[in-house]
Amino acid sequence: MKTPTALVLELIEAIGEDAVVWHDEDLLVYEYDGTIDRGNPDVIALPADTDDVSALIRIANKHGASVTPRGAGTGLSGGALAAKGGVIIGMNRMRRILSVDAENKTALVQPGVVNLDLGLEAERHGLAYAPDPSSQRACTIGGNIAENAGGPHTLAWGTTTNHVLAVELVTADGEVQWIGHDTRDEPGYDLVGCVVGSEGTVGIVTQALVRLVPRPSAVRTMLAVYDSVRDASNAVSAVVASGIVPAALEMIDKMTIAAVEPVLNTGFPLDAEAVLLVEVDGPESQVEAEGARVESILRRFEPREVRSATDHEEREHLWAGRKGAIGALGQIMPNYYLLDGVVPRTKLPDVLDAVYEIAERYRLPVANMFHAGDGNLHPCLLFDEREPGATARVLDAGGEIMRVCVDAGGAITGEHGVGLEKRDYLPWIFSEADMDAMKSLRAAFGPTENFNPCKIFPAGHGCGEAGHQHHAQQQIAKFGPKAFV
């Protein structure tokens, strides 16, 4: 029988027995998030309020244990994994929507509120919460803030950072502070902007004042079916070049359709090479005019078919196909490695060609479903981790794809965060001086070195073997900046 450590006992004393998880068999279910990395926490603590969070952090500090914040564990870069063991602070029990101010279009929420639940509550007031990650049925606002989450509809509305006005933050030394203001234009530095997207490395958000937006009075969702990926990506470029900003502009390729269609029956043709999902919204007249223009652009690239959802149900159905795509890949292979590169939209056709070429060379099935409108690629490499050498092959292929994105003038993450997964690629886009500047910013929030360690920045003490990434690390150590070129 395992006996609780002094750290565990103190955590139990602070927040109660049923809020502390420490048995080995229970810790097993906290070792993963939504992707392939793993981390083994020593203990999970589940606070009920801000004071609990502050107390937990102080206890962890006293014992020299690292702190890793976690929401629903749906993240896709290892951000919520305990890379160096220690304490995971799980925010999922702080899940109340504290208030909705319909007049000023804001909501005050706890971090464990599920994105979709906030969306539904906003809907009751005739409003919406714009960022809509594909995992919105499960992911939490706290996690969204940490990763600066995007989603199909952030093409028009911007990512999470555009929708957070103020946060209550418990810093790495356990202090509680409010940052930001209920208006957008607070004088001085944009500190909220520093917290959003900080991937849990500067503190834990315990309350957030978020912006709500009016619901559009009209929506038109179009499905365009293409017989070549290049035609589809050219259509994307043309829509963007036209000056119209659709509410969403998504591409889904053949492999993804093969996974999605049999289970979700979304109506994507199985023999199409790619489909585009395009949505325009706004006042009736604008939707009519823009919808017609978008449709005529889509038709210039020889689609097999362009059709519009006729009602709310059909629209939801099409979106279910897009948003359920990642999970549906389990139908094809038990594991996936989901990448998150961003490229200039004009480079989309070439980069996609390169992605397919790399996957073929590594003998890996690849599925693409992504936010084409903002050039945010999500190539998804499919494999079975039980097959010897498969994981290494996948990481190599992933490295090459990331490299292609960077060389095309893009970046290594669009919305999933750097986390554990891509920290070794950070030097491809930032110099040492850049990264030092970022680290100084992090240090300005307090003694953060034990706060979500091994995330974002490469190396770091004791992080060597964290996650699957040491393979990529070895490649980079061997080849330097030329790795994966």
Binding site: E25, L28, V29, Y32, D33, G73, A328, G330, Q331, N335
Partner: protein
Amino acid sequence: MSIAPPDFESIWQTADRPDAGELGLCVHCGFCLNACPTYHDLGVETGSPRGRIALMRGLDDGRLEWSPRVQQHFDQCLQCRACETACPSKVPYGRLMEATRAEAFAQDRWPRRQRIIWRVIMRGLFPYPRRMRLAGYGLKLYQTSGLQSLVRRSGLLKRLAPKLAEIDALSPNADRPFYSNAEAARVSPKRTPRAHASLVTGCMMPLAYPDTHRATVNVFARNGVAVDAPSAQVCCGALHAHGGDVEASRDLARANIDAFTPLGSELPDAVLINAAGCGSHLKEYGHLLRNDEEYADRAAAFASRVRDVHEWLVEIGFELPMGRIERRVTYQDSCHLSHAQGIRKAPREVLTSIPGLELAEMRTPDRCCGSAGIYSVVQSEISQRVLAEKMSDVLGTGADQICTANPGCMLQLDAGIARFDDDQRMIPRSIHAIELLDESYRLGDQAQTR
């Protein structure tokens, strides 16, 4: 998916083990978390579908010991299968959990007391219609003699045997004449029937909700279907399978296949069922008996004819009712109808066809009420908290009555009304949509003859 040959190191001991390929379908994306009532309630990932699958995998690949703690996490699952609706990878979670429980049962991983009670009640009582009826008469006596109200008023049971008091609160009202299978044949369509159906009357329904059966037969006869209720039928075995007692479940399945589809006879057009939990299980008979050489084909044929009453009514088309029922009704999606069988629209179609009836939807009508078969008794604490949340949703609709599609849900929701409807505004008994339809037909006929 094939079953891997048992290797000597494997923790699994039977052919009912969770299928490794099906376990592999889970990519731990986490989409199921927010759909899961126990994750919602417990707030720990060991109480989530993704977590429980990780535990199954941990057992499967030898990383984990099957400790009482692990068993507790499995036991806390409601098996409501809301996670299957949420799962983009279509992991057959219900099947995996049943397989895990089958192994737990075969390996005697329950506490001793629970095992004994199971054997007495689930093996000694439920499979035998006569014993069930006797128990029903006992309950009737307990209730009509005034003993029940005395016990409830005194609060004595709560202090002496709290578990029994919980069961008492969930016990059905045995105030209606029990349903006899012979009744079905006495109601026949006015014209030559367009179809023939056999009704599964089940173990509990004839005692607790006999009027639902009467209404079912009336409604289908009116719509040109001749309904019979085979006299040799027994309990469907759903509770047994959910608990992991697959052997008992298979015995019952074979008896029912013999009763409904005797060798050499023609299959009925539908094997009709008005209880969602049973319907979902009856549709799985093919899977349950897949390794039974003698019965596999017959089980698959039987399963292919199983239809939930709402499902079939909408499929064959039904006469629109004319009688007005001025009532605000909220519909609780029974988990085994919505999540397990994917039937959501048909019951609503039946309800909204009734003149005067207003359907007032809950925020989350397809969230489990916490009944979950015998869960409400064995995991009563979680069950009661899940029920409390459900009732706040119900009361928020301002409905006069709850309509649902499964006897367990009805018992649980009736207990919920008794406990939470402080203003006593609601009709204290929930109802099946088929009864409302029957009533509307009857009221319509009366209005016409007047």
